[in-house]
Every structure is written in structure tokens, then in C-alpha cells.
């Protein structure tokens, strides 16, 4: 497991999302996962996809239980809100404090990011309140022996198609912000802070990219398949 982290430092945050803490000595990935009640296969696919954006075994990922997937997505949301966003806010705040020549410009960036934070919050909130519960309910109905009409009613009120259409590109604004800082923010900037901020923005953007990919290419097709099969069962009845 230690090798995983040595290979790519960013996997630390992924380990975190699975509730795995450092201090596992020389234990293998399998041993550490077992000890932390983590599905090894799932963990490996997620970590590999995270490290390498060209690697994305979506068909395999779709075979895992919905609960595993949504739990991971949920943890990722928490990571953004509790860690990444505050980190970036602090950096911007530091920039405001340390800048004398163009405070008003940095304040603009601050407001931009503040609005973005709200947007991100709304986005993840909707997923947690509406989408994830829907997918879990659907899986339950899918796995159950009996045909319960309530799932049909549920599918009448919401569908994964709706999610697919309403799911917006939450990374766009981060890219805009990076471009503004790199290309258009007048010099002199506090370059140390500026670089750090760019680096954090870039990381968050990449992370959300990976995250949305799981939502759109794993969760959505998986649920769509379930919807189809459940509908079929009911028409047969």
C-alpha cells in the first residue's frame, strides 16, 4: 500500500475517502483494504482511474453495488467542501491581505470563487438529496424478488435521464479562473501564492473531472440498465 502513495502522492486523498489511515507498515493493498472493510477490487479500479486519466474501466466499475459507488462519491463531496474549498479560500484570503497594488482585483477573484463555492454546494447537495437516494432505491427494487409498485411511482417522478440532462459541467468555472489568473491578472502578483493557488485550482479541477466521470459513465449507465429491467418486469406481470 505504501507503494501506491509513493507512486502518486494524490492517492492520499483517495485513501482518505475510503477511511484508510496512514501507518499501515508494509502491509499489502489487500491486507490494508481488508482491515478497513474496503472492497479491494473497487479500491484498485478507483485508484488507478484516479492516477491515470486514460484508464477508465467503466464496464467493470458498473458491476459494483450502487452503495459502494455513491459512498465514494459522497466522500469525495465531503473532501471538496471540508478540505479543498477552504484551502483555496485561505489562499485567496492570504493574497488579499498581502497585496497592495491590486487588492480590488484579488477581491474580484475572491467573489468569483465564493459564488463558485455556492454553485458546487448546490450541485453536490442535489446529488446527495435527490440522485443518490434514487439510485439506492432503484437498486433495492432491482435486487428484490417481489414487484413493488412504489418503485414504478418513483420512476415516474424521477429518472436517471433527468439527472443526466441536469448534471452540469462544474469544472468550467475553475478553468476560467485559472485562465484569468495566468493570462489576465496584471503583474506584479505574489508569485509564490499565485502558483500555489493555481496548483490547488488545477488539482480540484482534475479531481472533479474524475468524479463527474464516475457519475456520468458509471452510475448513469448502471441505473439506466436497472430502470430498463425493472420496467420490463412490470410489463411482463
Amino acid at each position: 500500500m505504501a507503494d501506491v502513495i509513493h507512486t502518486n502522492y494524490f492517492t492520499l486523498s483517495v485513501l482518505n475517502r475510503f477511511g484508510i489511515e496512514l501507518g499501515f507498515g508494509d502491509k499489502s493493498v489487500e491486507e490494508v483494504c481488508k482491515k478497513n472493510n474496503v472492497d479491494v477490487d473497487f479500491f484498485l479500479e478507483i485508484v488507478n482511474a484516479f492516477i491515470d486519466k486514460d484508464y477508465f474501466p467503466k464496464k467493470h466499475l458498473q458491476t459494483f453495488p450502487v452503495k459502494l459507488i455513491t459512498d465514494y462519491l459522497q466522500k469525495t463531496h465531503d473532501y471538496y467542501h471540508k478540505l479543498k474549498v477552504p484551502e483555496i479560500e485561505n489562499l485567496i484570503e492570504e493574497m488579499v491581505d498581502s497585496c497592495y497594488t491590486q487588492k480590488e482585483n484579488i477581491v474580484l477573484l475572491k467573489k468569483f470563487f465564493n459564488d463558485y463555492k455556492q454553485e458546487l454546494l448546490n450541485h453536490t447537495h442535489r446529488e446527495e438529496e435527490v440522485v443518490f437516494p434514487y439510485t439506492l432505491a432503484l437498486e433495492k427494487a432491482y435486487n428484490s424478488e417481489e414487484l413493488d409498485n412504489s418503485v414504478i411511482e418513483l420512476m415516474d417522478t424521477y429518472s436517471i435521464e433527468i439527472f443526466q440532462n441536469e448534471h452540469d459541467d462544474i469544472e468550467e468555472k475553475l478553468l476560467d479562473l485559472r485562465n484569468i489568473i495566468i493570462k489576465y491578472l496584471p503583474q506584479p502578483k505574489n508569485s509564490k501564492l499565485c502558483n500555489k493557488l493555481l496548483y490547488e485550482l488545477f488539482n480540484l479541477e482534475q479531481d472533479i473531472n474524475d468524479h463527474s466521470r464516475i457519475e456520468e459513465k458509471v452510475l448513469v449507465p448502471k441505473i439506466r440498465e436497472m430502470e430498463k429491467i425493472i420496467t420490463k418486469r412490470f410489463t411482463k406481470k
Partner: protein
Amino acid sequence: MCKATFIIIEKSYLIRKGLISIIEKIPNTQVIQQFDNEDDLKILVNFESDFIIINPNLLNANTLEIIKKIAKNIQLISLSEKSIVLTKELEWTAQIYLEDTQNSILKKLNTLIGNRETKNVKSEVPEEISKREIDILKNIALGYSNKEIADKLFISTHTVVTHRKNITRKLGIKTVPGLTIYAILNKIIDINDTGKSKS
């Protein structure tokens, strides 16, 4: 000189990676997108690229149509064993074989890139944003919708949309809040003007 861009369509992860590592050996090249299956190809139309390298086994009735549509602007390169017979429905610029050595692949690619450059005389001068575009940008930053801007400037909504696309392409900024900051930084609008139009 602008970059030679590639899209790779191939199922095998190993082959994609291998090919990318070879392409990356050539300076001024970039693999902008890769696909590992035919299902996702619908979005191909959204990409501008010089070359598509595709495993012909991934061509079916649907994908053939998509490729045909975009092939006018993009050069097609096949990626397969030597024994595969290519469909005559498409115009192939070159063929890369799995049996090829690295050197012969490099040679083929370099020739293609060389040919492309003599054809394309696009200059790399960064495009300035025009006066009209600044007008539009100003209104976007002030919070007006496409329709409102069209009415104000006596042009069609379609024209506004086209201007917006060009602005985004030139500045690398896509969202309204992003464009607003740009407008303020460049004194196109005053910070106190923002959001005034919306009551």
C-alpha cells in the same frame, strides 16, 4: 507553427498508450482525445483535430457515418494488423500496422505532419478581440441575455451566439462570471456597473 493534433480510437489500453508515447516523441504534437469504444464517438464532432487514428474494427454502420461526416476536415489513419482490408467507403491517408517498428511509425507520422504544414498556412498570431466583440462582451458582463443583447444592438440572436463563441475561443474564458472579471480587469466595464441591468 501550430501543433499537430491527434485523436486515437482503439479498444486496447496498451496499444493506445504505446501509440501515444510514440506520438509524443515528435515535437509539437498533441493527442487531444482518445476513445476506447465506439459508443462514445457521437461527441467526436465537437473536436477539431488534424488526424484521427482509428482501429477499423471499431467501424460499424453508425460510426462509419460519424467518421464520414467529419472526415472532410480530418485525415484518417488506420491502425490494425497488416492483413486487415480497409473499407473503401472512407478515404484513408495512411496506415499504421501493429507489426510496424517504432521507426517506421515515426517516419509515417513525420511525413504526414510535414505534408500538413505545407497545406495549412494558418498563422499563429493571437487573435485580437474585435471592437464589435468588445461591445458584446460588455453587455454580457453587464448581465444581459443573448436576446436582450440582440435587441439592443439590432442583430440576430444567432449572431450574438456566434460572437460569444469567438470571444470564448479568443480569451479562453467560457462562463459569464469569468467574462465579467475579464471585462472589469480590462476596464471594459466598471466594477460598480455589474448586475445593474437585472432588477
